[in-house]
Amino acid sequence: MSETLLKVEALEKFFPVKAGIFKRTKGYVKAVNDVSFEVKAKETLSLVGESGCGKSTLGRSILRILEPTGGKVLFNDKNILDYSKQDLRKMRRDMQLVFQDPYSSLNPRMTVRELVSEPLYTHFSISKMEADQRVDEILEKVGLPLEHSKRYPHQFSGGQRQRISIARALVLKPKLVVADEPVSALDVSIQAQILKLLVDLQEEFDLTYLFISHDLNVVKHISDRVGVMYLGKIMELADTEALYEEPLHPYTKALLSAVPTSDPLVKKERIILKGDVPSPTDPPSGCPFHQRCPLAEEKCQNVLPEFVQVRPKHWVACHLVEQ
């Protein structure tokens, strides 16, 4: 677990806001704003944050499904933002995406076999027999009965559909899988099954996951490291244990205090944040969190805290955390 597979440097994705009859750009939604981190081979890095903090946009920008507006994405030490369309298409076999909503992420007019074999035919010129064999293999791995391969997506439950999605992503044996809230749309009982499947497949295929979620309980169980996002920026990034046991950033502390526990007798002190998340069109000056931070000082209002390593393998962007 030392080799770096993916390195994101100062990544930015700004969406222009157009207004008026001439569609002039009036400003930008800074969905992902100067984000840097590394993902090591075979680890699971999770990104958590509230709705609208830019975590999905970040995931999609890394895969260039959304074109980033700045920064670098180094995959195996090569900046994929420099790739031509052809090179990018070839590279896609190593980077796959699993979607949140298994109901809309599968073409309703294709059978399971067609869906799962499509990536194979897209990237390799292989015979039908060979493709069928690989499809059978992966379907078995994700736990779908082979006799279901002629069915259409609508004939499956949400959990089964997510298995199809995973099969579709993994049939190419990618190196990196970006899982964009893969279990958020599922029942809690099914969530556990799918998470277990993802973990098993990771071991089997030596996968690296970038796991995007808003559910801190889900993240805790499967991640090696966790990053907390707020308003398009990463506020804290650390090993899972360190982050959950000893959060340093006030926002992380507030988030963790809101996680429900399974023991009703445990009384936790909740940190209630005031106000709403500010608009990413017009982020506050200084620290993006200062308006809601219970500990904010004057410095926080004016100076943007740098994202620095304060302890071994523990990065925080906060003025109040001592190095």
Binding site: R92, D101, L106, R109, Y152
Partner: protein, 275 residues
């Protein structure tokens, strides 16, 4: 394919549509062998006679056999309907796919041209096109085809824009599927439902537009019959000889009805969700 036929067997309404359309097709294809008389032959001693054993649907003001003319007219009406809708639907499908999928200057260009075509009343536009190209059956079909293109373009474009936002399109792109394959394999099968319904509706419209053009002397030329032309010719004798109007009208209604039934059941058959 076997599966589709098996499912069609269970769909009673669909069977009615298939049989109806089949019968009309048989009439159109084998008309000359089925009709007892020549469709343009005038039997002067039998003018404006009611239905009888010799003249099943009666005769018109020139003593021509209505049944033979209806059979002959089926050929013309179907021919015009299918070819002109074929032209309009294919053009509209391609334009709609391109406009909806790319949504850039091409979209703007296509849709503004369609808006211009939309701005004219159907008949006026068809008239103008036929007047420019010259009045005959082929040009009538081209004109009707062009008149119907904007409706198809708009229908398909709207459906494409809705489908394009679905995650499975993003998924295909993330896998690295090429753009033309995304359009053909993922977008176009999912816009078929409104397209097929629109086609069956347009078919009836095409038959009626052909009738109107024939009436104005720009479609099929007399003495050759089409259902619309017969209907229009019947106006003056409607009160004394209603059969001249009733039979072609009946055939138009039944044909269009059967095409609509077939369209509905086709749409359901092609939708795997309704299996």
């Amino acid at each position: 394919m076997k599966e589709i036929i098996a499912r069609l067997k269970k769909d009673k309404v669909g069977i009615v549509g298939v049989i109806g359309v089949g019968l009309v097709l048989v009439l159109g294809l084998f008309g000359p062998w089925l009709s007892p008389h020549d469709s343009t032959e005038m039997y002067k001693e039998h003018m404006l006679e009611g239905p009888s054993a010799t003249y099943w649907f009666g005769t018109d003001e020139f003593g021509r056999d209505i049944f033979s003319r209806v059979v002959e007219g089926a050929r013309v009406s179907l021919y015009v309907g299918l070819i002109s809708v074929g032209i309009g639907a294919s053009l509209g499908f391609v334009f709609g796919l391109i406009a909806g999928f790319f949504q850039n200057w091409i979209d703007n260009l296509i849709m503004r041209i369609m808006d211009i075509l939309f701005a004219f009343p159907d008949i006026l536009l068809a008239l103008t096109i036929v007047a420019v190209l010259g009045p005959n059956l082929e040009n009538t079909m081209i004109a009707i085809g062009i008149v119907f293109t904007p409706v198809f373009t708009r229908t398909v474009r709207a459906a494409v824009i809705a489908v394009k936002e679905m995650e499975f399109i993003t998924s295909a792109k993330a896998i690295g599927v090429k753009t033309h394959k995304v359009i053909f394999r993922h977008v176009s099968p999912n816009v078929l439902a409104p397209f097929i319904v629109q086609s069956t509706l347009a078919l009836s419209g095409a038959i009626l537009t052909e009738a109107a053009l024939s009436f104005l002397g720009l479609g099929i030329q007399p003495p050759n019959p089409s259902w619309g032309a017969m209907l229009n010719e019947s106006r003056q004798y409607m009160e004394i000889a209603p059969w001249i109007a009733i039979f072609p009208a009946l055939f138009i209604i039944v044909t269009i009805f059967c095409f609509n039934l077939l369209g509905d059941s086709l749409r359901d058959l092609l939708d795997p969700k309704l299996k």
